[in-house]
């Protein structure tokens, strides 16, 4: 028995020290969080197709001060699932009424979070409208709209504190964004947002919807919910929408959510019509934000 304890106790002690994103066993204050810092690039083609690259980055383990104490490589494949076969429960829908020049790019970019204790998916839809506007010289513009939705469910002691999608036009220099929307405030049970293209005659309304447990807050910004330089540099061209637990930045281990939580946002970008092909091939950065911690002092 003593021999067993001699082996087991050091192992437990080692695990308690090395396990990331946990609540401090000596107090209820969470002193480790995991933050997903990964993004992918999707390019669009004039004939209406998406080409999504892998999602690459890290899961950063940060302490209560937000300082990175560990980096775990993260990679996920964007799934080229045909429309209608996604696992995402929060579709972006377009209500087309035959508008000329409207394109819905297929397939939507779907990428799954498939960690041991955190499961979820994020979906990014892209649409464009040719000849959206014309200036006094008869020069036209094209607009690109992205509807991004998604969220994460946690289990086995893992609790979510941030969850939601982000998308940005892949240009950190020239502001192209003309509109963005997300839900703000207390989380309703289900809701939707829409932005752009819903002109009174022959309009197209792109609506992103989501259902989730009504708890805490929905937020959005042009910058990510936590430090993540790769997406933050696109703040002039970005929309980030997320669910956030009200305990942040100092959570206790009974805080966070073990339910499905996420958000939905839409962004609208405008380009000279002559620049359309270049804009589509420059592409859009997409990301899923997820911050979670382990509420179990012995690990999750």
């Amino acid at each position: 028995m003593r021999r067993i304890l001699l082996v087991t106790l050091p192992c437990l002690a080692l695990a308690a020290v090395t396990l990331p994103a946990r609540a401090d066993s000596g107090s209820d204050t969470v002193d480790r969080y995991d933050r997903l810092q990964a993004s992918g690039l999707v390019t669009l083609t004039p004939d209406g197709l998406t080409h999504a690259g892998d999602v690459v980055g890290i899961e950063a383990v940060v302490n209560a001060l937000g300082e990175v104490v560990d980096r775990i490589p993260f990679q996920a494949k964007a799934a080229d699932r045909p429309l209608g076969q996604t696992i995402s429960p929060m579709p972006c829908l377009q209500d087309t009424k035959g508008r000329d020049g409207f394109t819905a790019y297929l397939p939507p970019v779907v990428y799954s979070i498939d960690q041991k204790n955190e499961k979820g998916s994020f979906q990014f839809n892209f649409y464009s409208q040719d000849n959206a506007r014309q200036n006094q010289f008869g020069q036209s513009t094209v607009q690109v709209l992205s509807c991004a939705a998604g969220g994460v469910d946690a289990g086995n002691g893992s609790r979510i504190t941030v969850s939601g999608p982000g998308v940005a036009f892949n240009d950190a220099q020239t502001p192209r964004q003309i509109g963005r929307t997300w839900k703000e405030g207390k989380t309703p049970k289900d809701y939707s947002v829409s932005l752009g293209f819903q002109v009174p005659v022959n309009g197209v309304t792109v609506t992103g919807g989501i259902q989730q447990n009504p708890a805490d807050y929905l937020k959005g910004s042009v910058v990510p919910p936590y430090a993540y330089g790769d997406m933050a540099q696109f703040h002039d061209n970005a929309v980030n929408a997320w669910w956030e637990d009200g305990c942040r930045p100092h959570c206790r281990r009974w805080n966070g959510s073990a339910d499905y939580q996420g958000s939905v946002g839409e962004g609208l970008w405008e380009f000279p019509q002559a620049y359309k092909n270049e804009a589509l091939s420059r592409g859009f950065k997409y990301a899923a934000y997820m911050e979670h911690f382990c509420a179990n002092p012995f690990g999750c």
Binding site: D100, G101, Q134, G138, P200
Partner: protein, 315 residues
């Protein structure tokens, strides 16, 4: 005050120098008038000369061509904002009516024909809140506008007119190279086509007869036909570059004249004066008389941004 007086005096002197230089430059059937000499660049002038032009001015003004608002302008320098965040693209008007193509959030950020009524933009009653561009109105409020159909690789543009008296919408011109239109002084429609070989202007008369004009430059835009007969248009010396000059053409006599450094905004109701803005910053406003298309007279300065488009209505 004293400083302002000194600046005005210096400016008047410089403008006098410019005018004298132009007088000695002479004129010909086809001439290029170097309106502002090197020492008096458009955009640098802050003083105005002479009486303000008579009439009412409504303009699209803002720092960004695609993010501008509607202003009521009293020359030389009163700019009263009429809209906020309206994303006005183009403006047209007739006595008692201002019609814009604007793309604010309420209309899904797409150009939609709207009327400025009761202090705000409202969807156009007739022919309706169309997704359309470039409204232009005759003095008796007949509407001309443009629409596009088809996908990017197969776009057909249409120039349409709408007669509020009969409720009739007529397609005046259509085709993949049609790029804009404006009313002529006697019911004609001026249609701009951007052909691979360069821009062409079609004068479409009410009976349907058409006359083609060749501006003989890389590109033109913002074509406007004054009541006195002159057509003014912005000239692009090179494609994909900002416009740099105003070209005047008389479709009857074939006369041409170029005004460097200035872009057209609006003809006066009588068609004898053209309101122009400097091409560099777009904040200095001047008028050009049809009696001397090479001479500008400063009439105002915008302190609220570039003046992109305007209508000039009777007082």
């Amino acid at each position: 005050m004293a400083l302002t007086g000194r600046v005005a005096a210096v400016t008047r002197a410089l403008v006098l120098v410019a005018a004298t230089a132009l007088t000695f430059a002479g004129c010909s059937r086809t001439h290029r008038a170097a309106s502002p000499p090197a020492t008096v660049r458009p955009g640098d002038l802050v003083a105005v000369e002479g009486p303000s032009p008579a009439g009412r001015f409504v303009a699209k003004i803002g720092a960004d061509d695609l993010n501008s608002d509607l202003y009521d302008v009293v020359l030389p320098s009163q700019f009263r904002r009429l809209t906020n965040g309206a994303r006005v693209s183009t403006v047209g008007g007739c006595p008692g009516k201002i019609v814009v193509a604007a793309a604010q959030r309420e209309v899904g950020y797409l150009d939609t024909l709207q009327e400025f009524k009761g202090g705000r933009l409202v969807p156009l009653d007739k022919p309706g809140p169309e997704h359309a561009f470039g409204p232009d109105l005759t003095p008796d409020c007949r509407l001309l506008f443009e629409q596009t159909h088809g996908e990017a690789s197969n776009i057909t543009n249409e120039v349409k007119t709408y007669d509020p008296e009969t409720g009739t919408t007529t397609v005046v011109a259509s085709g993949p190279t049609v790029s804009g239109g404006s009313w002529g002084p006697d019911g004609q429609v001026l249609v701009l086509r951007r052909e691979p070989s360069g821009p062409r202007l079609d004068v479409v008369r009410p009976g349907g007869a058409s006359q083609e004009l060749d501006p003989q430059v890389a590109d033109v835009g913002d074509t406007q036909w004054g009541k006195a007969g002159w057509i003014a248009m912005a000239v692009f010396a090179a494609k994909e570059q900002p416009p740099t000059a105003t070209l005047f053409m008389d479709p009857t006599s074939g006369q041409r004249s170029t005004l460097d450094g200035w872009l057209p905004l609006a003809w006066s109701p009588a068609g004898d004066q053209l309101l122009v803005r400097d091409a560099a910053k777009g904040t200095t406003l001047a008028v050009v008389e049809t009696t001397d298309l090479g001479k500008t007279r400063n009439v105002g300065v915008s302190t609220v941004g570039t003046v992109w488009d305007a209508v000039w209505l009777p007082a």
